[in-house]
Symmetry: C2
Subunit: 273 residues, 2 copies
């Protein structure tokens, strides 16, 4: 049988009930696109994982070890999704964690998910979620395992929309449930500031870098109203690259030149599957 999960390097599909990932969501994860047998943007993912582990005070991951385990699971696969979970470790009870806790790493591989056909070309239909994102600077930006807000938001709809945009309590658009969001307004490319809420995605980071070479780019608050009247709107994550939004809250939108240009630049850099 082909192995699909390694827990601390061993082929197994379970973790301890005392793992702090299970007890408190006390850990991090990365979702990495595998294309032609290669993990895309590996260095970006590792840089974020290390940064976030430091922010949470979790031991720093051994990146070469993670890469060996990733390569072991990737072997023989062309296109797939690699997931890395990195928790504070197992064995302690209560919120206080012993300093000598050894982090748990779970590396797993899965088939490429089924996305709506033509999502990148024609764009996707998007809605606003009722579930709000709480604000917490200590956790903002981190791709941690406390994801109940996203779970509740995603449960709001079944069909009709591909993604939902989440607002904070001040009616500011922060992100999609599984994507970051960009808007074109007043000639500039704008993406929400994530100082208080949201996940700072790898693809968001790359799009910001690439766009800065030819557009005015601003990281700032984006209100619900500003998103609705923006010239263009697109979504990003590591698996989809750029998805233009062709419908928001029932209103049709055209796919604009900035969205197309960013898709082209990502293809040229080999950053998308």
């Amino acid at each position: 049988m082909t192995e699909t999960v390694l827990v601390d390097g061993r082929a197994q599909e379970s973790v301890s009930v005392r793992d702090r990932g299970f007890l408190y969501g006390d850990g991090l994860f990365e979702t990495i696109a595998i294309s032609r047998g290669v993990p895309l943007l590996w260095e970006y993912h590792m840089r974020r994982l290390v940064r976030d582990a430091r922010r949470l005070g979790i031991g720093v991951p051994d990146m070469e070890q993670l890469r060996r385990e990733a390569d072991h699971l990737i072997a023989g696969r062309e296109r797939a999704v690699l997931r890395i979970v990195f928790t504070r470790g197992s064995g302690s009870r209560g919120y206080a964690a012993p300093a000598d806790l050894s982090p748990t790493r779970v590396v797993s591989i899965a088939d490429w998910p089924s996305h709506p056909s033509g999502a990148g070309d024609q764009g996707v239909c998007v809605r606003f979620c009722r579930t709000r994102l709480g604000r917490n600077p200590a956790l903002a930006g981190i791709k941690h395992l406390n994801r109940l807000e996203q779970v509740l938001a995603r449960a709001e709809w079944e069909n009709g929309a591909t993604e939902g945009l989440m607002l904070d309590d001040r009616d500011r658009v922060i992100e999609g449930t599984m994507t970051n969001v960009f808007a074109v307004r007043d000639g500039a490319l704008v993406t929400p500031d994530l100082a208080e809420s949201g996940v700072a995605g790898i693809m968001r980071e790359l799009v910001l870098e690439l766009a800065a070479l030819q557009y005015t780019v601003r990281v700032e608050a984006l209100t619900r109203e500003q998103a609705l009247v923006s010239d263009e709107l697109f979504l990003t994550n590591s698996l989809i690259g750029v998805w233009p939004v062709n419908r928001l809250e029932g209103r049709e939108r055209s796919v604009g030149p900035v969205s197309r240009r960013m898709q082209q630049l990502l293809r040229e850099t080999g950053a998308v599957a």
Copy 2:
């Protein structure tokens, strides 16, 4: 070997890496005091578990089954802590959960924790945490598994304080990292409103019920300043009952008559171990 963990009724100490409790903290927990072989306030815990499961859209637990499993683990123990984890289930990837997912239940038993000696009699030393609680009405009050805020807050200190009080972004005291908080001010017993943040503890609920028979009780905002100048301050949870605060941010406080009366009432009702 004595069993200490049952996962879906089976003696094992692990859960699937695909369990949504591990993936997203997508679940609930209860921590129940066992005294003289009996789980205290069982009905209160079950009522909250059912209420919270409904709020998260998780299937409702079978309470008789949980009780049978609890009794199996309790057998032969006088004093212990029972923990129930109830997650949305295992097997799906992505935030969207299939409607037919079967919840996972983990029932486990552990030794009674070591608390500071004399904490109930003499009181405990308490500090304010720097880590703030985010505000989210959709999750407020629920004893869910997204507990990174508490983990980060508890990591702020090692010795010197027994508990830390957590504020929201408006400088309102919400709760301790593992306790609820009550203050006596202007002749009334006040506990913070948990409509936007915090965990609605079982012991908090019982204290509110008992106190209403003889005191003016108010559930309302409690600022940091109001907590500092309050006449009495005490902490509650299912294991400790009532702990008076005898020191807050370095200032000594006396243990007052309301704290003592609530301890007495809890003893009389048999609600504490």
